[in-house]
Symmetry: C2
DNA sequence: TTGTTTTGTTTCATCACAAAACTTATAACC
DNA sequence: GGTTATAAGTTTTGTGATGAAACAAAACAA
């Protein structure tokens, strides 16, 4: 862990050479993305118009996608002069597992390539200090049960797992999850379900929740393309999304807004620093400061405020002030003037939004130019407590859309 | 300026289709990058081995580069059995102008595709509150004089201009440069030298200084590929470089570390926030706090410290503390555990490095894993006061290397 | 002089896509 | 109902990129 300076490869490969099959892969991906990104079904001719490819080329590419079960044809639609078009739409036969382990629950979702929730299984329980092997083995069993009966009609593309901690990008190793008490483990192995977890995508909970905002359904970007996401949990996770891609940094740990310092003389943080945002706006800190049980639901906090509790009000104000400071710094650093609040921060939106929005507009450099927007994660208003599980599945499905050639084999 | 929420285009083009000429462009760039990135001259066969292209293909691509004047053949090298190889190296006939306007000087440099400094012209003077039209017109004249006599043997690729302010990426407009007192102007037009400034690359001073660190010579990456750069001037500029690319953000303003908040109750900053890093570590703030003239050279500050001035010592300590806080937050946010100090911060390296390095290692999340490195910009030790001017030229030349097809026409 | 080795070139086959002609399937109009 | 107009999708042909393999060139070595 406490490794010495890593040896850098003296000459990394610049990139690989292009060939004709590269062209095909690239155009296949272009057609797939165009198809999935469109809110309305597109015909081959529509795709040709949208991509500048010829109809002939699109036809052949679409044939490949049909053959691979990635898309299907719908009934022809008449009504206008000319030969009727054949709409081509995402095939819901392909699907992926999205899983999440959190301090308070585990969840498994099966999601189709068209974005539909096919099945779901959730368990609640206190997982702080739990044994990762036990929890993950059980998660694997749950996933297998969930799949039963579906594999006759569907085909599994892969699985994704969201964890509340540091995940080393590439290797899929969890380095540490402070709020679970887990360190240094390989989730794919512990799940003991090699058929399900071959190529398991392991990701940080905030990063994957951000994916589900950037892509409400697989391959289709939502209205927010550049934004900073904050996940309000025991810790404050964060992710920075630019043009639909989650920023990774060198190891895949970028976006840790919870550990932006908002007061150099503030309380110490287990991360080694002091006065991190998390120390003011993390759920347990907030609840304690409000005079409530650390794991009390947000509704209690809101009630307390409405009942006139000064402690509750002060706690939220302190969190808001910390949030303002951290976000202004973050926006100045990343130049992404849009913020989405998730978890308990989203649920406290009515108290936080106006203040934070005003601060961001008045104090961030980009504030005066773009009219930055602060909003609440949709998932909060629809009472979805596990957007990261959905995001994990979507991330897996996006891989298919972004490189269909690899899936077609 | 104070625009309302910008209207987002509902459907941006996903990307354009690939064709055979795309393959050629891509491989041409691959060959060029391989050639320029190598410390030793490469033969066609070497390039083939390095890229997995065949010798036949490499030969044809190199022929194009030769024809375009981007590379030249050197004398064959014998000594080993087999047909002697023909080394192919960057051609120094192509060159670019790199210019910089700062609060205290202007500079114009002419730099060859091989990285050599061909000519240089600098002027000093207080440009705070100066008239941009006058300054830029004079800069254009200087550039033209500098070029005289060189255009018989060289060919100008283009020009780059570094400015200490906010530049809107794409348009090349300077929105504001607080320390010059300039706002809202189009440098390319004001320079009144359309032959030189066609396609002028305008960039932020810190961003372009970072380019000259990432690329010590055009197309050849230095040892630092991921790093956070801090330019110490009146203001503290910053840039984040990941894999050799400067992070832009939505408008091109990412990396403003000078406006990370290190004390929410600190002194107000013209940017609208409070307690920005710049308020503690900007050169004039630092000098005043040390009891010196605001524009005194760093050497005086060092002397004062060595003479035992407590004010000077305290000022540097305060700057160091602010730097620590800002950098820990920044590293947590970007996951780039490497820092390069430029300008007066680099010149104060002996006082800052140990403290800052310890802070970053002990308090940043990535600190415990990678052994983060804090170092001083090479340009400071070689007494080059204008790395951004070099970076501006290098950025222009890199465009040729990254897409030779566009240059060949 | 002959053989060996490596570089660089030539020739030919393959495979994507573009262009354009063609086929198919519908609506609109007389 | 027959004809025309219109648009979707397919077939055919040509172009241009790379790869593979044979070939030519230029050195060293025995």
């Amino acid at each position: 862990m406490d490794t010495t300076t890593s040896v850098r490869r003296p000459h990394r490969a610049l990139e690989s050479s292009a060939t004709q099959s590269t062209v095909r892969e690239s155009n296949l991906a272009l057609v797939a993305r165009t198809l999935f990104d469109s809110p309305e079904p597109l015909s081959r001719a529509d795709i040709a118009a949208a991509t500048t490819l010829t109809r002939a080329t699109v036809s052949r590419l679409v044939d490949d996608l049909l053959l691979g079960g990635i898309v299907v044809e719908r009934e022809k639609t008449a009504g206008t002069p000319g030969r009727p078009a054949t709409p081509v739409v995402p095939h819901n036969r392909l699907c992926a597992l999205g899983m999440q382990v959190n301090a308070g629950f585990t969840i498994v979702r099966l999601i189709g390539l068209d974005g539909a929730l096919i099945a779901e299984s959730a368990t609640t329980g206190d997982l702080v200090g739990s044994d990762p092997a036990t929890v993950l083995r059980e998660l694997g069993r749950t996933a297998r049960r969930l799949l039963e009966g579906h594999l006759q009609t569907r085909r599994l593309v892969g699985a994704g797992l969201a964890l509340p901690g540091l995940v080393r990008s590439g290797s899929g190793l969890l380095l540490r999850a402070p709020n679970l008490g887990w360190t240094e483990l390989a989730p794919a192995e512990l799940m003991a379900a090699p058929d399900l977890t071959a190529g398991l995508l392991v990701g940080n909970e905030a990063d994957l929740a951000a994916v589900s905002i950037a892509y409400p359904t697989p391959g289709r970007q939502g209205p927010q393309r550049d934004f900073i996401y904050l996940s309000g949990e025991i810790g404050i996770g964060g992710a920075a999304v630019l043009d639909g891609r989650v920023m990774a940094g060198r190891h895949g740990w970028a976006g840790e807004i919870g550990h932006v310092c908002v007061d150099p003389d503030g309380p110490p943080c287990p991360c080694g620093s002091r006065g991190c945002l998390e120390r003011f706006a993390g759920s347990r800190v907030l609840m304690r400061a409000a005079g409530l049980e650390p794991d009390a639901p947000v509704s209690e906090l809101i009630e307390a405020i409405e009942d006139g509790s000064t402690a509750a009000r002060a706690a939220v104000d302190a969190a808001a002030a910390a949030l303002e400071t951290a976000l202004v710094s973050t926006i100045n650093l990343l130049d992404i003037p849009e913020v989405v609040l998730g978890g308990h921060l989203g649920r406290l939106g009515r108290y936080l939004l106006p203040r934070v929005q005003a601060a961001v507009r008045g104090r961030a450099i980009a504030g005066r130019f773009d009219g930055p927007v602060v909003s609440v994660d949709q998932h909060v208003t629809t009472d979805d407590a596990a957007p990261a599980a959905t995001g994990a599945a979507v991330a897996v499905l996006n891989q298919v859309i972004d490189n269909p050639a690899a899936w077609l084999g």
